[in-house]
Amino acid sequence: MKSPVTSRSAPPLSVRGLTKSFGSTRAVRDVSFDVRSGEVHALLGHNGSGKSTLVKMISGLVRPDSGGFNVGSGADEVLRIGVVHQDLALCADATVLENCCMGDAVARRGPFVDWDRERRTLLPILDSLAAHFGPSTMVRDLSPANQAVVAIARALKRGATGAPLDLLILDEATARLRGTDADMVLATARRVAAQGGGVLLVTHHMSEVLSAADRATVLASGAVVDTVEVSSTDEEQLLRMVSGRDVTALRRTPPPPKATDQAPLLVLDRVTGEQVHDLSLEIRAGEILGVTGATGAGFEELPYLITRPDRCHDGTIHLGGVLLRGRTYSETRSRGVGVVPADRLINGVYVAASVRENLSPVVRRHNRVLGLVANPKERSWARRTASAFQVRTAGPDAPIGSLSGGNQQKVLLARVLEDRPKVLILHEPTQGVDEPTRRALIEIVRGAARAGTAVLYVSCDVDEVAGAADRVLVLRDGRCVHESPGGLDRADAIYAASYLTGTTTP
Amino acid sequence: SAPESKTSVTEQDATSEIAVAMNELIEQHSDAPEFTPPGPTFDASQLKGKTIAIVAIDLRVPTLADVVANAKVAAGLLGLKVTVFDAKSQATLMQQGMQQAIDNRADAIISDGLVMQVVADQIKEAKDRGIPTIDVVNSPPVPDVPGQGSDPNIFGNVSPDAALGGQLIAAAAIASTDGKAKVQVMNTSELTAAPAIVKSITETIENCDACEVVSTTDTALNDWSTQIPGLTATQIRSNPEINFILPIYDAMGIFATTGVQQAAATGKAWVASQDGSPAALALVKQGDVFVANVAKSSSWAAWAAVDQAMRGMLEMAPADPVLPVRYVDSAALEGVDTSTSKSVDEALFGPAYQDGYKELWGLS
């Protein structure tokens, strides 16, 4: 698969001593490395290690305090750099096509935009990414996963016309994608490399690094730990570099013995929504039910059918024997359902507000005095919670917008788990979270389950679901096509059921 | 029924006796009014250094701004100090302006268009503190009554005779249609003088058998520029018999004229109004649509107001509140420079009244 093409003289990207600090936080310190032409170069590091900041500096959005970088051969011809930012940078109210033309020199007929030509350019790219949505779909109507696909398509489109891309930067572009979709993106990256360009691949998934990257540069708190040949390293070593300590592999602890006579806590009976078709499932207290499938399999809708039962076209949802029929989430929530939504920036945080406020938009009882918010009390509570979830932040009153993507995700998880919900719904809960923390978070979820919470774990990451859940359902076209107990050993079977058509269990 | 000559009102139009009568009335007011002392003379020099506080409702309104400017001139001659407060149409600021005038011990207050009801309390307080308040070009004057038509606690009023103004523009309509005026009265009922003007227009029209008030519309002050052109056109269309539009103030007349033009009714419908603001007079000078205006002099008003104020300070009896007006049509405006209120004022009212006041104040 890997065939380093050595063509151009100057490397597509050479970074020399880049440094950037935000106020007191030193985000990036004296970072230097090269991305050779023809190579996929992985950029690893814990949350808040400065990856995105580095990317933003390279794409000219953040001015470095010192140091510099050199993109492409610097020759006369125009540079073709495709960047997929961690936060995708899409416009929800525009179509896929429009989004893919955002900011680029668009094809024109006379003075006007030539939409037909643009469409013709985009279609093959969408196909190459196996996207199952059209250019004129509204981005708003796409699931987070597909929005990532759109962003990638836009990045590739830069190289589509004429010469190939010089440099492709993917900042956790695969964070929302798993399985074949992720493979598709990695293959694309390889293709770009094969055509003589360079790829900077920012990810938290070691498997991707091992399978797709030639070399890897590891950052820790803004500084380069080392740049290594992937061929001459392994996951354990990479993890050690990322986390700076030995990480015990994720082991499945045997599910706690459950009284099978115990009535299930959450029961979905023949539920049908936009994409889900008469799906039935049960979750008992203390049980973690994983739900996965390929992107577009419709499982992404499941969380939002439970939080807003009125969205079900058909079927019923019972919680502890009570029929849910809320028109707003808060009705469902009041019955003890907690949710960590995907799509952090729309459904998760209020970026201008502080970490503390985002930890509890609805101020917790124990942080109130005489109906007022007890600020000192809440502040110290927020500080404790943040550190318990390993959130890297200047302090509880720092605006959450100043946190790195992964750390924002941790704040979200903390918010929900602090409520000790009866039923916990997780939608891509570890999206963009670095490996060590991811394992820690999953342990926390397990802990919650052991304490009697029923957990619905919805993710497109088969390994994660398999590793975390007691029981796993696989959906395809909105229907359950496979059910199996959890466990990493079952991962392959689940993977097959998700991505290989034909494999079904009665 | 339309007059042959739409430019001016001339004898041969008038055959019906009502029209003739109206022409006579018009004639009486067509010349430059000469100055008749509004009250006994007095020595103004003793008032040197006193302060007159002018509180205006909104100095973006031309007339009111003119009053301020000319009052300053007059006061300057007398060595009086003048302070100005602009309430920017905000009721609370009107009160604040009055209140501050009182607090800062002004010797007299000139209310330049303030809404009497809104500042009633302050006017009373001023009176109690012995500060006379003069109401200028706002309330219809009624000689020899306390407040002279304004709030009872007002010392004196200075204003053109609203009823006469209404009567004259109605007369214009009747005369130039030879007693067959079909008029639309254009009202803005929130203005203090509106009822009086509308009343006398309607009465005058009713005195003429073949005449009729076809419709009366009411447009909010804020909507003049946006609404009146359309409204006028609408009225002309929905009542094709309308041959005269009588806005109560000529600032409305400007937009009514636009409306008539845009309704392509030039030569079928005319506009007559009162107040004598330069822009309107410019249109009257053209005379194709806006054919008659009853002009008052803001400058004269200012001098009269200062005169009233001084009488107040000297605890004399208030002077005659009625401001003279002059009926003008395009003929009368022949060769008049209508570009500024100053030039208009000089042309239509001459310098006589200023000398008159100076004499009255013992300046000459």
Binding site: D93, T95, G103, G401 | R60, G230, L231, T234, Q262
Partner: protein, 343 residues
Amino acid sequence: MTTSSKIRTDLTVDSAAAGADSPSRDSSRGEPAAHLQKYALLVALVALIAVFSVLRTETFFSLANLTTIMSIQATAALLAMGVTLVLIIGEFDLSVAAVMGLSASLIAYLTTQHGVSVLLACLVALVLATVVGLVNAALVVGAGLNSFIVTLAVGTLVQGLAIGIAGSMTIGGLPTSLTYPFQSRFLGVQAAFFYMLVVALVLYLVVGRMPIGRRMFFTGNARAAAELAGVRTARVRVGVMMTAGLLAGAAGVMFVGQTGAASPSIADPFLLPAYAAGFLGATAFTPGRFNVWGSVWAVYLLAVGTTGFQFLGLDNWVINVFNGGVLVLAVGLSRFFARRARV
């Protein structure tokens, strides 16, 4: 990305829960409802005209009457377009009315009191108006101040200057060389209307068909995203705010040309209606997006409403009530179709 605290004036449907329910503006799904929404304004306009015609056949539905409405509303439409551009980039410009007043009164002043040639006077006015737009831009884009309040302030300031220059009084008696080009009629409609149409057409092409239009939309709708994607949003915003100033100036020229008189504060009442038209227009043609044709239609829809009710000889206050009603109805209507379009 991180957007900072902002006013939500969502045009699209309530977008809670990832707007898992939002109207698709994807015209390819040719459901009737979707089209009904697109053309709701036109429908409403036609409906209104029909109603009034039935109620007042002889008078209301006369060609003359319609042409009058067309002529009279040209200025308002011109101003509404400028407002629309600013709304597209997600800002406010509350100084437009003051600028319109400045331009109108300045021309009146220069031509009547100083015998400046009409052309020169108009040129000066337009340049000044654009400069005001530039000042707004400098404060909003350059200094990063909030546009609502900045333009409010600049408006006050500009009106002050206008009064300082031209005086507060209404200046009339303008040379026919100024009024004729606007008042002369073609097919019974004043020339001003056709100028307005031309501007509308040009702006439509720029906003709706040219790349810059795309950039404007993204700048207003997802600025941070646009930045990340390489749109020079600052440039776009400055350009648009200057254009808005220019258009306000042009509205002033047209106003003084049509009315033949002007004062600095004469245009104040045009401000809110212009915004009403902008927002109302955003419910049609490209529903959920501010658009030029929408604003123009909206201006005329509202005008027909007012005029029609006047024809019925209703009291001023009743007309106000109805106007308010019509506005709500029009917005509600296309909202309704939007819902229908999605089911």
